[in-house]
Amino acid sequence: MAILETNELSITFGGHVAVNTVSIQIPEKKFTSIIGPNGAGKTTFFNLLSGQLSPTGGSIYFKGSEITGLSAMERTRMGIGRSFQITNVFPNLTVLENVRVAVQSEAKVRYQMAAHFLHYKKFLDKAYEILEKVFLTDKAEMLAANLAHGEKRKLEIAMLLALDTEILLLDEPTAGMSLEEVPAIIAVLKQIKEQKDRTIVLIEHKMDMIMDMSDEVLVLYHGELLAKGTPQEIVENEAVQSAYLGGDFHGQST
C-alpha cells in the first residue's frame, strides 16, 4: 500500500519547470531511493513533499488523504519528517539541545510550559538515546556550530530520528562527507531499515549504497519521472543509462 502518493505533481519557477507532472507511489515501510543527475529536481520534489514549497499543479496524498495545501509544520505533525541537504542545524545551541528540541516537538506538549518541566527528564533520556545511535554522545555539550561537517550531517539525522515520524525523507545524508564518515551513516540507515517500521525515502548519489539498500528506485531527469523499479531493473534500464551518459552511471559518486 502506498503511504505517500503524488498525482501529476508540478512546480514551475518563472518559466522553468523544475518538477513536471510526477506521479509516484511510495510504498509503506519500504526503502525508496530517488536518484537523478544534478539539477534533476530531486530536492525540489522533496520540498514539495515536505511542504517547504507549494506545487503549481497536481496533488499529494498521505495515507489516502490530500495534504497538498498543508504547511510544513502540519505535515511534520502528521508524520512526514525530513532532513536537509544543506546542513540546517541550530548553530548556537548545543548538540544535545538541538536533538532535545526535536524530541520535545514529537512529545506533543508544545505549549504547556509546566508539562515541559515535568517531561524534562524523559526528553533528555530520549535525546541521549538518539545521540548514541548516531555516535555523537561525546559531543553532546558542544555548540553545533563547532561540529565538523560530517558530524553536522549526523546531527541532522539525529534530529529527524527524534521527530519519530512514520516517513523519513533524507536528502543526501552523506553529501560532503569524508569517506571514513560514510559507513557510520549507512549503519544508522540500515539499522532503521531493519526495524521495518518506517518508510524511508532517500536522495543519494552514492550508487553502491542505493543498490545495496533500496527496495525501489525512482529516477528523476529534467523534472520528470524517467523510470522506476527495483535496483536491478534500474541498472539495466537503457533510458537511465543514457541519462547518466552511458558508462558513467556506475561511477557516479559526487
Binding site: S50, G51, Q52, S71, A72, M73, T76, R77, R82, F84, N88, V89, F90, P91, N92, L93, E97, R100, V101, A102, Q104, S105, E106, R110, Y111, M113, H116, F117, Y120, F123, L143, N146, M159, L163
Partner: protein, 328 residues
C-alpha cells in the same frame, strides 16, 4: 528542590543581588539612589527587549509603547483615584492587561510575516500612542503632562529602591527560568532558523506571539516603576529615543543574555549622568550625545556580541583549549 541542584552562577547572582540591598546604606544621597533606581528600571525594560531581540530574533522599534502604557496607567490611576496601594495594584493590573492585549494583537497581525513588519508596525503604533497622549488632554494633560502623588509607603527613595531591586531580581530569575526552559529553547531555535523550527513541527507564530506578550507585559511593568520614581508624566514616555536607548543597552551589554541588558542599563544610565554633568568642564560635554554615538559605533565594530557575549565567548574558547590540551 534540593540546594545542591542549584548551579554556581545562580549563587553568584543571588550574592550580587543581596549585596545591592546594602547599597542604600552606603550611598545615602537621594540623587545617587535615584540613579540606581533608574538603572534597575531600565534593566527590567532592557531585559524585556532582549527577550524579543536576543532570544527570539524579533526587532521592535516601538517597544517604548508598552513602557508608556505602564507609565500612563499608573499616572492616571494615581491622579484620578487616590495615591493608595489599592489604586496602585489596580494600575499595575490595568497596565499589564493593556500591554498584553496590545502586544497580542500586534503579534498576531505581523509576526507571521517577515520580521521588519513587526518593527514597522510597532514603530507606527508607538507614534500613534504618542499622538493620543498629546491630544487626549483631559486625561493625559497633553504635552505638558501632570504631576501626581504616590502611595506614602513608596514616597521615600529607600523604599522605592527596595521595590525596584526586588522587582528586578524577581523578573531576572523569572525570565532566566523562562529562557532556560524547553519553551525558551524553542524561541532560540526560531532566532537561529525559523523555517527549520517549523519543519520540526512547531507552530512558530504561537511561540513568537507568546514571547511578544511576555516582553510587552514586563516592559509595561518597568513603565509602572518609572512613574513611581518620577511622580510626573508627560508624552516623553512614548518617545522613540527611549526605544533606541534600550536597544543600545541591550547591544552594549550583550544580546541574547539577561545579565547583558542589566550591565548595559547600568553603563548607559551612568554615562548619561556623568557626561551631561561634565558640561562645566568643557563645552563638548554639553553635546555628550556625540560622544555617545562614537562609543556605540566602536562597540558595534569591536564587540558585536556586547560585554557579556564577548566574555562568554572568551571563556568558552578557554575551556575548549583546556579540553584539547587534556586530550593530548
Amino acid at each position: 528542590m534540593r540546594l545542591g541542584n542549584i548551579d554556581k552562577t545562580t549563587w553568584i547572582y543571588l550574592g550580587i543581588a543581596l549585596a545591592l540591598f546594602i547599597v542604600p546604606f552606603i550611598l545615602t544621597g537621594r540623587s545617587a539612589q535615584f540613579i540606581m533606581i533608574q538603572i534597575f528600571i531600565f534593566a527590567i525594560f532592557a531585559m524585556s527587549y532582549d527577550l524579543l531581540l536576543g532570544y527570539t530574533g524579533i526587532i521592535s522599534f516601538g517597544h517604548v509603547m508598552f513602557f508608556g502604557i505602564g507609565a500612563y496607567s499608573t499616572a492616571i490611576f494615581m491622579d484620578r483615584l487616590d495615591a493608595s496601594i489599592g489604586a496602585l495594584v489596580l494600575a499595575v493590573a490595568v497596565a499589564v492587561i493593556l500591554a498584553a492585549i496590545v502586544s497580542f494583537i500586534v503579534g498576531m497581525l505581523t509576526l507571521r510575516l517577515k520580521s521588519h513588519f513587526y518593527a514597522m508596525l510597532t514603530l507606527g503604533l508607538a507614534g500613534l500612542f504618542l499622538v493620543v497622549a498629546e491630544k487626549w488632554r483631559p486625561l493625559t494633560g497633553g504635552f505638558d503632562g501632570f504631576t501626581f502623588r504616590v502611595p506614602d509607603l513608596l514616597s521615600t527613595s529607600e523604599s522605592l529602591y527596595t521595590l525596584s531591586l526586588i522587582s528586578l531580581i524577581l523578573i531576572f530569575f523569572g525570565l532566566r527560568r523562562f529562557t532556560n526552559s524547553p519553551f525558551g529553547k524553542v524561541l532560540m531555535t526560531i532566532r537561529e532558523n525559523e523555517e527549520r523550527t517549523e519543519s520540526l513541527g512547531y507552530n512558530v507564530l504561537h511561540y513568537k506571539v507568546i514571547a511578544s506578550v511576555v516582553s510587552g507585559v514586563v516592559a509595561s511593568f518597568a513603565g509602572v516603576l518609572y512613574m513611581l520614581s518620577l511622580r510626573f508624566v508627560d508624552t516623553s514616555v512614548f518617545a522613540t529615543d527611549i526605544t533606541i536607548d534600550v536597544l543600545l543597552m541591550t547591544i552594549i551589554g550583550g544580546v541574547g543574555t539577561l545579565v547583558g541588558p542589566i550591565l548595559g542599563a547600568g553603563l548607559v544610565e551612568l554615562a548619561h549622568h556623568w557626561l551631561s554633568g561634565l558640561s562645566d568642564v568643557h563645552w563638548i560635554f554639553e553635546r555628550w550625545i556625540i560622544l555617545y554615538g562614537t562609543v556605540y559605533i566602536l562597540v558595534v565594530i569591536f564587540f558585536p556580541l556586547g560585554i557579556v557575549g564577548t566574555i562568554r565567548k572568551k571563556m568558552a574558547k578557554r575551556t575548549a583549549v583546556q579540553a584539547r590540551s587534556i586530550k593530548k
